[in-house]
């Protein structure tokens, strides 16, 4: 089994803990509880591996069993200082913003800078969470996609509450970490 470390980064209250809880336990809690420090969760999954050489661009490789160690990191500013020590050894990172709070999207470049300073080759996914709050959207999916495209990363609009696209996003990143 291949083990990989994934870190979730983003401002406080964007839904990082909720995304992990949805993916790992398929649960959601409406009450906001601030995370301090780090919570590591483990999730095993089987993904299609990278295509064997000569298998064609659209081909899929043999299924790969993976163990994801998902690091849910505090979004609060007081942990900025120690965040670098948390992300070391990460193979993947999820940059999360809240679609209803534009300033959380504006913070993402700084998280990316801090991340790549420690782990330059990390695979990234960009996530706009809280798509269920339809009437409060302050950010368009196009803006998210444009930003992700600059990083050559996938963009996902998710809802930890409904579960929309959460599993897809983690699986996409898991596959990307295999290549």
């Amino acid at each position: 089994m291949i083990s990989k470390k994934i870190c979730l980064l983003g401002d406080f209250a964007v839904g990082k803990t909720s995304l992990v809880r949805r993916f790992v336990y398929d649960r959601f809690e409406d009450k906001y509880i601030s995370t301090i420090g780090v919570k590591v969760s483990r999730k095993s999954l089987v993904v299609a591996g990278a295509p064997a050489s000569g298998g064609g661009a659209s081909g899929q490789g043999a299924p790969v069993e993976m163990s994801l160690l998902i690091w849910d990191l505090a979004g609060s500013e007081e942990f900025d200082r120690v965040r670098a020590s948390y992300v070391r050894g990460a193979a993947g990172a999820i940059l999360v913003c809240d679609l209803t709070r534009r300033q959380t999207f504006d913070s993402l470049p700084q998280y990316l800078t801090d991340l790549t300073a420690v782990v330059p080759d990390v695979r990234v996914a960009v996530v706009g969470n809280k798509s269920d709050l339809v009437d409060e959207q302050a950010l368009s999916p196009e803006e998210l996609t444009t930003f992700a495209a600059q990083l050559e990363a996938p963009a996902y609009v998710t809802s930890a509450k409904s579960g929309a696209h959460v599993d897809d996003m983690f699986r996409h990143l898991a596959r990307a970490m295999l290549t």
Binding site: K5, F12, A13, Y32, V38, V40, L69
Partner: protein, 386 residues
Amino acid sequence: MNPEIVQPILSRKRIAYARVDAALCLRALGGDDTLLGLAPGDIGQPLVVVVPELFGSEAQLHAVMTGELPLITVPRVNRDGPDGDVCYLDLSVFPSRDDDAAALLVVAEDVTELARAEQMLTQQRNELALLRDRLAEQNMALAAANAELRQLDQLKSRFVTIAAHELRSPLATISGYVDLLFEEEICGPLSEMQRTSLDVINRSTARLLHMVGNLLDLTRIEAGRLDLTLQPVEISPLVHQVMRELKPLAEDKRHALEVTVADDLPLALCDGERALQVLHNLVANAIKYTPDGGHIAVVVCCDQEPTFIRFQVSDTGIGIPPEEQQRLFEAFFRAGNVYQVDARGSGLGLGIARSLVELHGGALWFESTPGQGSHFYFTLPVGEPD
């Protein structure tokens, strides 16, 4: 450090530790083994498998072992406690020796009590920040709505100004020709019926001109464009002019008019026309809103504040209901009991009067009891002594 000092300090802490060999596998456990959730069966397992918070730190672990790094730490590790609540650990990895070979010592300290306090603080700070952001958004929306309202208000003011100007010229022409017909009889002698009809036209035109004047004043006051010509003014002639003008109206309603102007009254520093307008408005209101056969009193004297002259207009009228007194100076507001005296009005005069007084640096206020009458007061500054 002296063990006699270290021992009491350590005895107060919940600590677990693990010895790790050069291959980064567990060799021994100690301390409170419930903290890291490790059991003797884990001996021999890779450290990063049984302590997942150290996964990814293999290079740093080797660096500690070789002395390149003094230690590594992972602060505030969240673990599920036995009671289902989160407990918090600070993880540290130090260099150590194992049978004279390089090794590591992993120490986990329970910092739950402190971390829970930190968590509560963080929670409150974050919730406050979320509220602040929401408030900022609402403020922005309100500011945008305000800007739109201001724009609409300016548009309304422009419209009122233009409309009032356009109305005033033809009204003045009508008024002039009615005067010629009425006073000069330029088209020959008038029959009683014609006189009555012209009188109706004349009164209606005067009322319209008065309303147009009020609208223009209101828009000028709102725009801060109403200018006063301040000069020393003798008050007594001004008061008597108002009383002369309004005497016919008072007589129509069989009111008793009483005027008292103090003998030693100094000159007022005011715009005579505007002072006259204010007093005229108050006395006209007193006449209008007092049932037939009432008593109207005008008193002018020095104010308790020696730099002001005080005017008082009292009536025995219908009064103003207490619940409506706050709104009395609002534009277009009329009290709910005006039907008792069938008085016409636009609800503009009082607000304009108060603004005019305040532009002079004075004040306008009232006391009123429904069914008994009202007392309106205003002050104007005393002119500079010669």
